[in-house]
Every structure is written in C-alpha cells, then in structure tokens.
C-alpha cells in the first residue's frame, strides 16, 4: 500500500538532542497518511554493559546522555539496589532525590529557555537567525538571564550531590558515596528562594504564551493518547519512585500502582525495520493501538496531586484552564514542564532544610539478587532500566526503555497532525519544516539517549512523488 505514497523527508531535526529524520508518507491525494520519525543511529549500551561488573552500570550507562545523565545514573543505581538487596537509608534516598530534582530543574530550564523559548517568543516561522537563545537574550534579556541561572542552579545541585555537574559518580549500589556538607547546603540555600520565585514566573510565562494564541496552541499537533507514569502510593506525583499508572485516552485505568519490577508483564516492545528505536505498547491493547505518551504533560495530568503547594496550585489551574483543553495539547508540554520545574524547586527547598542530608549512614546491604529493575521519571518521561547479574557479579542482560522510546509513536502522531495541517502537497516550505520541528521538540526528545547518536548533519529535505521522482529539495545547514 505504501508503494503508492509520496515520501517527504526532513533530515535532521535541529534543536533536539541527537539526530532525527522525518519522512511523511502521502497518499495520491496529497494527504499525510503516516509520519515516521526515523532513528537510524545505533545504540549499543545494552550490549556494551554485558560482561561488566554490576557496580559499574550506574556510572557507565549514564554516558548515554550529557543532558540528563542523572536519570540513567539513578535508574541504574535503583536497579543495583535490588541486585544487592538493599533498602536505602533515609540519607541516601534524600540525597538521590535532591540530585534528581536538580536534574529536573536544569533539564527543564534548558529545554524551555534555550530550546523552545525562541519558537514560542518569536513565532515558529520567524527568522531562524534570531530564533535561538542569543536572540532571546537580545529581545528578552531578563527571561534569558533567569533561564541561564535556573539551569546553573540545577547543575550546582547536581555537582554537590553527584560530585560533578555532568556524569557524577555518587549513586552506588545500596546508597550514595557522599552526603551534603553544611557548606554545600548553605550555598544552595542562599539562592533557593529566588529559584522558586523564578520557577513560578516561568510557569506564568509558559501559560501566557499558551494563551496568546489559544486556538493554535490547543490544536497544534494535538491528539488523544494513552498515558504511563509513576505515582506515589497516595497518588501524588513522584519523580523518583513509585508504582506504574497506565490509563487509556478515555480515562480507563489499565493498571495502577503496579510494582515496576513487573513492568515487562504489561509493557511489550515492537521492532520496526526503519528505526533503531523500539515501539513500546501496552500488552492489553496490542501493538497497533497500545502506544502511549509519557513525560511532563502525562505526569501533571495523571497524578492525583503534586506534593508541593505552589506547583499543585498551578497544576489545578492547568487542568481547569479553558475546560481542560490544555491537557492533551502537544504545546501544553511546555506549560506542564514548567509546573514540574516549580515542583522540583520547591522539593529542593524542602530537602535543604532536612538534617538527614548531613547523615552519615550512606550505604545499605541485603540479600544478593540476580535481577534488578530501576524505574524513574526522567525529565522527558518514564525511564526503565532492567539488568540480570550472574553469580560472578557480571551483568548478563540489560534492557533500557528510555523516555523518548516510550514517546516514539506519540511523536509520529504529533508530526502527522501538524503535517496534515500545514503541507500543501506540492512543496516543502520553510514554515512546514519549522512546524514539524516544533512538534517534535515539544516532547523534548533525547534522540541520542534513545539511540546514542553520533555527530550532527545539516538539515536536508526532499520531496519525492509516488514514482520516486524528487519534486523538491531543500538543504538547511
């Protein structure tokens, strides 16, 4: 059937982490039938780690990514906690949480202010020479300044908890290798109230931008989707630990508070020939319709509440906004992301006042296990690490389902919606490319994370008709 479709390729996507290429499959009437975000880079980490000692995994696997390595560091460490049979001490768990909230803060700030704000502030079709963080700094200097300092603060939280701003080593099987000194705490305390205030301002900025062109923002690449996220035992948003909650697009609960050790009973993965990225789906719904969406939009809409007051107030306003129209809007990802950033800032503030962070019981041990699963809510969504370890302490099997992989089909769906709205069927316009990139970028996909991309290429676009003739070609470096 696809032989009669025309092919439109956009290669690669800029301002996402990694390399993506988009193909639009058109029918003979010029209507977009399918959108495929190709992931053609090879990821080898699940293989590299085989035969390595298990205590190496949290440090090695985080090298998947330079943007949110803490997520992989902690997900692997959580899996290794199970391998060593440890129940974390309060000090260890709180230090890891602090590190994770620092990660959420810096990653969300990076995404909103550095990567997406240029689109949102200047418009998707505006001059590309200005549509970047430097342009934001020139036109909106205070917004840019706050974005840079928010990210810097998050990185400082990571540095004092993990040992380095990027690729630290403190989460080890059964605990952490350092606590937070009073001096380190005081440096963070000095700025945290400003950070909370700026984070709240960022939520309001995201909301204003959404409201400014409400019809466009609610319609842009929007679609209904099933959802997957972690929640605390009482239903609260919990980005570090909890049970799995899956709901269908019409609100039916597929499973709730599922022990993530058993994720593999409910989440299956499908392989497709045109992408190295796998396609996860809910077993109960099957591969055709069982795909789902993870990340900030899902977490904010599917948790019962956020356990910090300012963020929860913003969550309630978000859900009530215009009769709930933001809840499924692809561009509402940004607004939800800023609500999470506010939650992270509040959580950091609370933790900095907790004396457990200066505790000295850092490590725990227990009965050795052969299998370990670690799940965490990374900035981009649910992240699953699953390992098997032999009797000699070497890893024999590893499966990673990263956030961008969970969102694989959701991103295709968003692209399809946008392309249907903006492709005239004859020509690839700069505006269309921009709109597709904006749709993909809303998910904050980490393609290097999902596939371990190497290098970057200029933007190459071609339009091919059903007979394979190139009708149009664009190159953007």
């Amino acid at each position: 059937m696809t032989e009669t479709l025309r092919r439109v390729a956009i290669d690669p996507i800029s301002r996402v982490e990694g390399h993506g290429k988009v193909t639009l499959l058109l029918d003979e009437a010029g209507i977009v039938q399918q959108a495929r975000l190709h992931i053609v880079e090879f990821r080898g980490f699940e293989k590299f780690i085989q035969g390595r000692p298990y205590w190496e995994a949290p440090v090695m696997v985080q090298r998947l990514c330079g943007i949110c390595p803490v997520s992989h560091h902690l997900a692997a460490a959580k899996a290794m906690d199970q391998i060593v049979g440890a129940k974390l001490t309060p000090t260890a768990e709180k230090l890891r949480r602090l590190m994770h909230y620092g990660q959420i803060l810096q990653s969300h700030a990076l995404h909103f202010f550095h990567l997406s704000a240029p689109d949102l502030l200047f418009g998707f079709g505006s001059d590309v020479a200005r549509r970047n963080i430097v342009g934001v700094a020139a036109a909106y200097p205070e917004v840019a300044r706050q974005g840079v300092l928010l990210r810097k603060f998050g990185q400082e939280v990571i540095r004092v908890t993990a040992g380095k701003r990027v690729h630290g080593t403190s989460a080890v099987p059964g605990g952490v290798n350092k606590n937070l000194s009073l001096a380190e705490r005081d440096v963070l305390l000095k700025d945290i109230y400003q950070i909370v205030a700026w984070s709240r301002d960022a939520v309001h900025l995201a909301r204003r931008l959404f409201e400014q062109d409400l019809e466009m923002h609610t319609a842009f690449g929007s679609f209904d989707a099933h959802t997957l996220n972690l929640v605390r035992a009482d239903g609260a948003m919990d980005l570090y630990h909890g049970g799995l909650r899956a709901r269908t697009m019409d609100g039916k609960t597929l499973f709730d508070h599922l022990d993530y050790d058993r994720y593999w009973e409910e989440i299956f993965e499908e392989v497709k020939s045109w992408s190295y990225m796998k396609f996860p789906y809910f077993r109960e719904l099957g591969p055709e319709t069982g795909w789902y969406r993870v990340g900030p939009l899902t977490r904010v809409t599917q948790c019962d509440f956020i356990p910090t007051p300012l963020a929860d107030m913003e969550r309630r306003e978000f859900l009530a906004f215009d009769g709930g129209r933001a809840a499924n809007a692809t561009l509402a990802f940004h607004w939800a992301r800023m609500i999470e950033m506010l939650h992270a800032a509040e959580a950091i503030k609370d933790l900095l006042h907790d004396d457990d962070l200066q505790g000295t019981e850092l490590m725990a041990k227990g009965e050795r296990q052969e299998r370990g699963v670690g799940v965490i809510e990374a900035p981009r969504g649910t992240l699953i690490h699953h390992y098997k370890v032999d009797e000699n302490d070497l890893i024999t099997r590893c499966n990673l389902i990263v956030s961008t992989t969970h969102n694989n089909q959701s991103m295709n769906e968003a692209i399809r919606q946008v392309a249907r709205q903006h492709l005239d069927g004859q020509e690839l316009t700069e505006g269309l490319l921009n709109h597709i990139e904006v749709a993909v970028r809303a998910f904050d996909p980490c393609l290097s994370c999902a596939t371990h991309a190497l290098g970057q290429m200029p933007l190459q676009v071609e339009l091919v008709d059903a007979a394979g003739t190139v009708l149009d070609e664009r190159l953007r470096s």
Binding site: P53, W55, E56, V59, M60, G163, K164, H167, N177, L394
Partner: protein
C-alpha cells in the same frame, strides 16, 4: 662524615648514596621524574620507559641507571616530555582504557600521568583488543583490558606474597598478563584480599569486588593534586633524615 657524591639533574646537584639509581636519588631529593613501572618498594624493572632521561647525550631508563658522580642528566625537557606523551598514548592505544566508566579513575597512575604530561589526544588508532574479565574469584575482579604490563603484580605476588599468582605470557605485541593456575582462573589460586599484589596495580586491573566508586569525586588521590607532586611523598626519605628503606643505605 664526608659530603655525599652528586650528579646534575637539569642543572641541579642531586646527592646520592652508593647503590641508588638516578630516579631513587632524584625522588629522594625532591625532584620528580615521570615513571610508571618503577615502585620504591620493588627492584627496578625498566619496562615502561617513561622515566627515560638523557645522560651525557644518550637516553637511559633512570630507574635502572646507577647514579654516578659527575653525570649530567636531563629530564624536564620538551623533547623528553614529548617522548613520554607518546609512550602514554601508546599504552592507552594498546589496551581498553575507558576512564569515564572505570572505577580506578581518579586513582589511576596512567590517567594521572596523561593529565600531568598534558596528553591531549589519542595519537594512535586504538587496538580495542578483546580481553574478557576474570570475575571467578569471590572477592577480586581482574580486568585485563587495562593492563600496562608493568609486572608490579607479578613482582609483588612473587617477592612479597610468595604465591606467584601472576606472570606475563607471549612475546612482543602478544604479551599479556596471565594467572598461574591450571584453569587460568583467579578462583583457582590462593590469592587473597590481603596480598601485596592487591595494592600495587597502578591501573584498574586488580580490583576488590563490590567496592567500586565508593570514594566520592574530590576524595580520590589525583583529584586535587597532580601525580608529579604526590610521587615525591612516596619516595624514600631524603638523605640526611634517617634510614632510607629503598636503597638500604643509612647515614
């Protein structure tokens, strides 16, 4: 008591005792010469060549060169440091040294030398040899990927532990570290955590299991001060301050 004899190192007079090598005398006098296979507690080995100096215009390994009165030794020159950088690059190229995920990072002599000598590039295409780890021992992991053939473990196991657990096998580019047991596995030796051979590996080959990454960044040996500063602290006490264990000389 007569004044000790001296030689010149980079124009500075270095006193020495009979039997000392150039590197022993230099380190005792507070003068650093880069080195890897040399260890103050063991007899000189002379295999890594990082301690190469120029003596009266000719190159020599300072760890095996007996100190003699009147020698004119050059060490801290760009020519020699450039050669040392190349040697370090070759050692990295020969094995699989993935510092980012190595638990010895921050405590590794090879890595510290790389930083200290300002090795800024790979220099050579890496061999990427296939060297499986030996995890058979309940308490000790052997990761042969990182071996630099310094033979410190061979010397420690043989001379101090009296066990002869390790040996080198093969020749030339095929030379590699082996375990002396019928199976070739460490589990079939009497190696123990308390052995001297556990302490001496300058890189991340001989590791205590389940202890990796327990030291936070900032507390590891070479996190704050370069190896060139710390090697002097490992050196035997200077002449004139009591018994010198390494050279067995006393004032």
């Amino acid at each position: 008591m007569t004044e000790p004899a001296t030689f010149l190192l980079d124009g500075v007079e270095i006193p020495f005792a009979p039997g000392q090598t150039v590197i022993q005398a230099a380190l005792s006098a507070g003068r650093y010469i880069p080195h890897l296979c040399y260890h103050p507690e063991f007899r000189p080995h002379g295999s890594c060549k990082l301690c190469t100096v120029k003596v009266n215009g000719r190159t020599a390994a300072s760890c095996t060169l007996p100190a003699q009165a009147g020698l004119e030794v050059e060490s801290e020159t760009e020519e020699l440091n450039s050669l040392r950088r190349t040697l370090v690059q070759m050692l990295f190229a020969e094995g699989n040294h993935f510092c980012p995920s190595c638990e010895k990072s921050g405590n590794c002599v090879l890595q510290a030398l790389g930083y200290d000598l300002k090795v800024m590039s790979a220099g050579f295409r890496h061999f990427f040899p296939d060297r499986p780890v030996d995890a058979s021992h309940p308490d000790i992991l052997l990761d042969f990927n990182r071996c630099v053939l310094c033979e410190l473990c061979v010397r420690a196991s043989s001379e101090v532990d009296g066990k002869r657990v390790f040996a080198l096998s093969g020749r030339g580019a095929d030379k590699h570290l082996i375990v002396n047991s019928a199976s070739g596995l460490l589990a079939d030796t009497d190696m123990a955590l308390t052995d001297k051979a556990m302490e001496v590996c300058p890189v991340g080959v001989i590791l205590k299991k389940r202890a990796g990454f327990a030291q936070p960044i900032g507390a590891r040996r070479y996190d704050t001060r370069p190896i060139s500063a710390q090697a002097l602290e490992d050196a035997p006490r200077p002449l004139g301050q009591g018994h010198c264990e390494a050279c067995e000389a006393s004032e």
